[in-house]
Amino acid sequence: MNWHTLLFYLFALMSCGFAIAVVASSNVVRMAFFLIVSLASTAGLFFLAGAHFVGAMQIMIYVGGTLVLLIFGVMLTAHAAFVSMVTKSSDWVLAAVFGGALLGLLALTAFSVEDWRVARGDQAAVTSSEGEFASSIGQALMGMRVDRLSEGNSQLEAGMSGYLLPFEIIAIHLLVVLIGAAYLARTKRRVGSVTEGVQ
């Protein structure tokens, strides 16, 4: 067993285990914590798969940004009564049945293709030279597929123009979402609401 395999199992175990813990826990803050660990371990998996930039991005935005927001939201709304909401046991049974079925299906699919199951032999040669560099990702986002240059011909040129349009769309989308979220979170306070809570 080489260290890649070892680390893969470590991270896979952590991300799956804590994902299950998220489902099993009924305390929102603990759920958020488990989610953090689960997503951070997933970032580890990304690093193992050679996607360094995506891994760092996962930590930075997903774990760092989204979850801080989430915990912030939890704390803002964390009245003791809402921190833990217990699920009915009948819901659990239903969820377990359907979830189990779905998992079985997906697992079967995952191992059904020979090419997917068998790992590439010459891994060591690959990791150090390809796919780890952010510049190719950046250039793809700017509309240039440098990794596809070798296959460049007139038919593929359209495909080589990269992701400039989606990138721009997402940029605008993010801006809109930011403004929208800020607007949505505002409430005009009703007169009298200051005193109504505690007394």
Partner: protein, 111 residues
């Protein structure tokens, strides 16, 4: 034990992704807490992301998706962040109006 000791392939990653996906779906279905549902969505997206990265990794398979896998994963991450912000804003707004974030009680339309 060849399954465990072999070098990992795409399938292994897919399995992890599947587990996270299912966890996310179950989480979305069972949690009554609005923020809990949100966390389920994050798990689902993350499970999908693992698949993209795995298919895009040259390390796991020579005929890989290449950069497209990573790029789509990136888009998913960014969009998930946007979605979380909006969902959180909705949750806060909902909480302001109803003093609860129990989604089962969100059955009336006017806020």
């Amino acid at each position: 034990m060849s399954f465990l000791t072999d070098p990992v392939g795409v399938s292994h990653f897919l399995l992890v992704g599947a587990v996270m996906f299912v966890c996310g779906v179950v989480c979305m279905a069972t949690k009554r807490n609005g923020l809990g549902v949100l966390m389920g969505i994050e798990l689902v997206l993350n499970g999908a992301n693992i698949n993209f990265v795995a298919f895009g990794s040259k390390y796991l398979r020579s005929e890989s998706l290449g950069l497209d896998g990573q790029l789509i994963a990136l888009f998913v991450i960014v969009l998930a962040a946007a979605e979380a912000a909006v969902a959180l804003a909705i949750a806060l707004n909902f909480y302001n109006n109803h003093a609860t974030i129990d989604v089962d009680r969100a059955d009336e339309l006017k806020g």
